[in-house]
Symmetry: C2
Subunit: 267 residues, 2 copies
């Protein structure tokens, strides 16, 4: 065992079962994050079941009860538990078993190690702020990707549509079948935005004739604009930049990337 | 540097900048997985932007180009790149900078380390099969959670509804407003399931009178049943157990768990 003074980092290479168990228990007791490189199998029982045979993987146990099991490829963990899981560590013959479970919902991940090559334990300090920035294009792309961020039942028809007075950010159809024109503003939407939206709608009405719904989507509405909106029969909706960011991030990697060999429907 | 014979594990504690850079480059060249514990900041530019100040974190670089940055809490990485990212490693004064980027979409994560406490590099072998098992309740719960797994525009009204002849698995309304009764079978659906579904529908018709759509959802339909289905005006749909599993897993942790301090809408 080696101690690195800055971080209280403990490093165990090829620890015996006794040493590994003690390190796991102590790490968790002390609120440390633990990383294991080793050979293990993974069983999940809860909502559905899954099984993964033995292989060399990276396991992260966080002090809040989060658990991650990573194979050597892909960005998604092959199995994980959210914060709040209860860990238990035990010896089973020549193996080490880690259970991570919750009671609500009732579920359990069981890791069975037949070899631990490295066990690292450390208390990490991280209070930094996470800041995100989305611009009008990001918001628009997020809505294209997840139209329900605008409202349930909404469908995008086109983005950046040219109309006589400029470019409409987004055009779609709402759940009641109404043609809907959305003007996106990054900050507070003011009189200019309202008047611009009105012009877009007038331009589109020329094309069809049916009623068109107009919505300003922004982080807020400038003072005194609500009356103008009302008088023109337009609406304001607040955008949630965090959900937009999440939608954009989610779209990048194509979901969970389960690399699945076999599946079963079982009783 | 210490070598553990089984795994070709290389462990560097508090490496100098030169040693760390060389280890990073060599690890990637050799198709190894690298784990870093250190103090770093994270900047993301691409779809939207994000910034995370300095803090102690765990970074995983996989040989396929996947990158994960984990804070000491939560099960979601605070930032990540999918497989296919190009890494580059460089020195910037007394710091080490790792860029992980892609050209389509154009995006880049920049990790700036002012301290590396541990760097571990290893070639991991993992060819195990991942098997999953879902039962009828799992499929039903997945549909409740993500009704679009059944079909777009579908809404669940109730599950396990009691009718004179038993319990209907799932009742909903489809995008055309039709009352829809779904019978879920774990394996092949046979004549029994078809007749059972027909009875359920007849039982429900007694309640309302409007047309009811009946669908068998299973991994397959037994031979000779298609004719019976057709003659009764019922449908068969194939269930995708993998997507059901993904829906159940996704629901567990409540999404990306961004622990967000501030957000910005920027130009």
């Amino acid at each position: 065992m080696r101690l690195y003074p800055d971080l209280g980092l403990k490093v165990f290479q090829a620890p015996s079962i006794g040493v590994a168990l003690e390190a796991l228990k102590e790490g968790f007791r002390k609120g440390e994050l633990t990383i294991i490189i080793g050979r293990l199998s993974v069983d999940y029982h809860g909502r559905a079941r899954s099984k993964l045979g033995f292989g060399e993987r990276v396991v992260i146990l966080k002090p809040d009860g989060a658990l991650l099991v990573h194979r050597p490829h892909g960005h998604s963990p092959v199995n994980w538990q959210p914060p709040g899981s209860i860990f238990d560590f035990k010896r089973l013959g020549e193996k080490i078993v880690i259970n991570a479970g919750r009671s609500n919902p009732l579920e359990k991940v069981t890791l069975t190690f037949d070899r631990i090559d490295l066990l690292v334990s450390s208390r990490l300090r991280d209070d930094a702020e996470f800041s995100l920035y989305v611009d009008e294009h990001d918001i628009r792309d997020a809505l294209v990707s997840e139209p329900e961020l605008f409202e349930e039942g909404f469908h995008v028809v086109t983005k950046e549509k040219r109309v006589p007075s400029g470019f409409v950010d987004l055009i779609g159809v709402d759940r009641e079948g109404r043609f809907t024109v959305i003007e996106i503003k990054k900050g507070l939407a003011g009189r200019d935005s309202v008047i611009q939206l009105k012009r877009y709608i007038d331009g589109l009405k020329g094309e069809g004739g049916a009623a068109v719904r107009g919505v300003i989507l922004a982080s807020g509405l400038a003072r005194g604009c609500q009356g103008l909106l009302d008088s023109l029969g337009l609406e304001f909706k607040r955008v949630d930049p965090r959900r937009c960011y999440e939608a954009l991030m989610k779209r990048r990697g194509g979901g969970l990337q389960l690399e699945l060999s076999r599946w079963f429907i079982s009783s």
